[in-house]
Amino acid sequence: MLLGIDVGGTFTDAVIIADGKVFAQAKTATVHENVLQGILRALDMVLQGNDSQITRVVISSTIVTNALTEHQLDPVFLAVIAGPGMNVKNKFPVQPYEVSGYVDHRGKVTAQIDWSKHTDLLNTKGKGAAAVSGKFAVRDPKLELELAKCLRKNGYDPVFCASELNGELNFIRRTNSAYFAAATYKLFNEFAKDILQALTQRKINAPVYILKADGGTLPLNEAMRQPVEAVFTGPAASVLGIEALVAPVLPAISLDVGGTTTDIAFWENGHPLMAKHGAVIDGFPTAVRTFHMRSIGIGGDSQVIKQSDGTYRVGPQRIGKAVAVGGKEVTLSDALITCGLVHFGDEQAACEAVGKFGEARVEAEKIVGNAVQQIMGTIDSMLAEWAKQPVYTVEDVIKGTEFKPEVLVGVGGGAPGLIKALGEKMRLPVDIPTGGMVANAIGAALSRPTLSAALRADTTDGYYIIPESGRKEKLPSNFGRKKAEQVLKEYLQQKTAEWNLPDQDVELVAYEFFNTIHGYYDSGEIFNLRMQLKPGILHKLTVVDKELNIDGQEQTL
């Protein structure tokens, strides 16, 4: 049995999945100041005697997100080897200590670290966490590792190496990732320890995983080495939940309509689209991979305000329950009920509440219209952002990389009515699967590990490097694309074994090949590859026969 826990802004959900269906589920209020407390309560509610058969636990929590947004960060000593190029002042959350030395774009060390310039660094005892990052360390990590070693010797612990956290180009993003990893390390570690202790007390000895922003799971002990990956996991869990429930095959837009917010994601071939760039944390771009999604402050419980010009503004504030279920002020849900788009609670009361603004039906349509308009605006800007992705080949320019949605998928409590209205406006068919009320926890329960790594080989140089491994190795004989793929695949498989992950297919996600010329005649080859464990979920839900209603009561369908 698989246990999934999702800590959201409003609710903490837990589900147990067995034999392809939801075996037990629970919903409880999130305790913002004490996330762990909410988790334990949801856990106890859902377990009720099922503890011994749990084989895997996945937790999607706001612990890292909260720490970042509320600036509860540990001090970090950040040292960078920036070399020539852009001025990095103000590019990082803290002013970095700049270390001499340089690695160029081909991975050639063009200047060693001149330690005589850094006697201050060598002579001061350090303490606490540190992050180090070197430009082009993903092409050769030598200087970055040398710097990390020096800091460790001086007493810094732990020391995060940026190129090990992420093997892709972008010095600024890698550096910020390493900084945030160091800054959240202690907090996350304590959280992890508490979780393990609580599970042990409940006699659950199954392996524990943390959900990442890219929808993959990470073993808890690995997550301690890269805690920043556990940021923004709520939307990721929602996407995985949709994958478990429907996995749209047509190009689709999914909308997870909660009480407060709506999370919007794009789908192609049954998989959510990944963002081309990492997440922006506290205004700083990082290398943390996420889905191409947006959150907008519109949900079923959104406040409705009539403005002086007679138009309405829905959200972003949440004001509590709809009038139809005993609330005091008009919410978006009441307007949806009045429009006949959805049926629940005291429909008469909802109509009457909306009727205070004017003719109930007319005003309700205006309210829903505003919500739909805001969502469409967000979708438009997401489409525009997707369409602006860079293209580097003539083939891609001709082929185009536009995303053209053919269906809308709605999950979450507020979805049924709102998505119907949106579908009418966008002239797209609408799919509203059942079981969507705890989609996030289901997504967490069914998520699979993700692991990706890059390989770069430069035959002129005679070496290949897998940045995530921190190793630079001599090229084997007969090196070519096949060999390159084999080497990288073996690395991923070895890592999978180390992390005790289930066997998963490895797929090639990026490949570049260039003939290089030096001088007039000498030539070589450059290979750039990226491979990953196939992302997604363990399996789809086969049966959905229970649903939590709006009050968190389970009902059989």
Partner: protein, 437 residues
């Protein structure tokens, strides 16, 4: 407006001229790596744009292809030209303050008439952009500063009769480098004399000589010309490490130039030191154009950098004097030349297409009128991919009056009747329509 740069980056990783050619897939690979690693695309001062495909009529506002431009190009050319148009739109629609079309394939050796590829170029992407700016946005006065090490003979050809375009090219002296032209006395046809300014520099000229030339001549000419827009043909092969040329400019030299020039739109041209120069030069130009600190952009290996020869500054000083006289006295000279030519001016050209071994002979004739007149091109080329071919071409400038248009049509019909030409074509520069007679 905020100091922002629109960057249209299109490295065309699947386009090359032939294996091992300087114009190969690898050319902007290291530049891409450097820009990505620097994190430049994340700077809020830099906005990224993707190229679109230009239309054939965009190309035909400049070019007359024989048999047609459509049969001479590949989609790559439409993309790099389209990249320039996107860059132009971003500036004109005030989305950004400046633009840089960091695109390939390049263009400044492509002349008005095209039989094939010369100097790595088939179509002239900056001139296409200039004519687009005129048609779409009504821009009139344009200054093009060509900072490629090679003389931009294609751009010169396109603008030679156009007094509203100030074309300034500095380059390594044509006696020592392809294409062998670009001397100060090539200064424009009578009606546009002094608006083509060629500044041939001696080999080994470095940052010092270049900036002496910019401060002493280029800046004052731009100040005087008062263009509506400044375009930079941003070739990067003046770099000290370039394998095709012999100059000694550094990334700092280029970046400072970009900073002083303040071009509204820059378009990449040549630059073939793909590993040692382009990553740094481009980073420098981008930072400078975006108004960011570029002082730290220094090549990691400066061992190949040589001091400039003492004669370099002497040449610069001569050019400042000689070309300054041509430019600042241009009104007087234009009048004298017009009086002398008596309404008709003709020149002969021999054009060699190095890439394909094509030899072209051209006779170009302008017939002046108070509207500016029109011009014709008689062209015969041997060894094109379509065999030997010939054409009689009439070009109608934007301002051509009704009388000139009628006269031009009559002339085309007359030539058609002689049956001397395989093609008789009429180019309407304003619309990009080419009529086959």
């Amino acid at each position: 407006m905020k100091n922002t740069l629109g960057l249209t980056f299109f490295p065309a990783f699947d386009w090359y001229l032939s294996p091992g050619h300087p114009e190969r897939q690898e050319r902007l690979l290291y530049t891409r790596d450097q820009l990505e690693e620097e994190g430049l695309f994340d700077c809020e001062e830099i906005k990224e744009y993707r190229p679109r495909l230009a239309e054939i009529h965009d190309l035909q506002r400049v070019h007359v292809g024989v048999p047609s431009i459509a049969r001479l190009i590949t989609p790559a050319h439409l993309t790099s030209a389209g990249g320039c148009l996107v860059a132009a739109d971003a500036v004109m629609q005030k989305e950004v303050k400046r633009s840089f079309a960091l695109v390939r394939p390049p263009g400044h050796h492509a002349m008005r008439v095209v039989h094939g590829i010369r100097g790595f170029c088939t179509i002239n992407i900056e001139t296409i952009m200039v004519e687009y700016l005129r048609t779409k946005y009504g821009i009139n006065k344009v200054a093009v500063v060509d900072t490629d090490v090679h003389h931009g003979d294609g751009s010169q050809d396109v603008f030679y009769h156009d007094p509203n375009t100030l074309y300034i090219s500095f380059h390594q002296d044509g006696r020592t480098l392809y294409p062998g032209t670009g001397f100060p006395d090539e200064a424009g046809s009578p009606g546009a004399w002094g608006t083509t300014i060629n500044l041939p520099l001696l080999p080994t000229t470095g940052d010092e000589g270049l900036h002496r030339l910019f401060d002493g001549l280029i800046a004052p000419m731009l100040e005087d010309f008062q263009p509506d827009i400044i375009i930079n043909s941003a070739g990067q092969d003046n770099h000290f490490s370039d394998p095709l040329a012999n100059m000694q400019i550094t990334a700092q030299g280029y970046a400072r130039l970009a900073d002083k020039l303040k071009a509204d739109i820059a378009v990449l041209e040549g630059g073939y030191s793909v590993e040692s120069a382009l990553p740094y030069v481009n980073t420098g130009i981008i930072l400078a154009m975006a108004g960011l600190d570029y002082s730290r952009v220094v090549e990691p290996d400066l061992s190949e950098l040589r001091p400039q020869d003492v004669r370099c500054n002497q040449r610069v000083d001569e050019l400042i004097k000689q070309s300054g006289e041509i430019y600042f006295n241009r009104a007087k000279m234009q009048k004298a030349m017009m009086d002398k030519c008596n309404g008709v001016w003709t020149r002969k050209k021999h054009i060699y297409y190095d890439e394909e071994g094509i030899r072209e002979e051209q006779i170009e004739t302008i017939r002046y009128c108070s509207c500016g007149g029109y011009f014709t091109l008689k062209t015969a080329a041997e060894g094109t991919r379509f065999g030997d071919q010939s054409a009689f071409i009439v070009c109608l400038p934007r301002q051509a009056c009704k009388k000139c248009r009628d006269k031009a049509h009559d002339e085309a019909l007359k030539e058609k009747k002689t049956q001397k030409w395989m093609y008789v074509l009429i180019q309407d520069i304003a619309t990009g329509e080419i009529e086959t007679v």
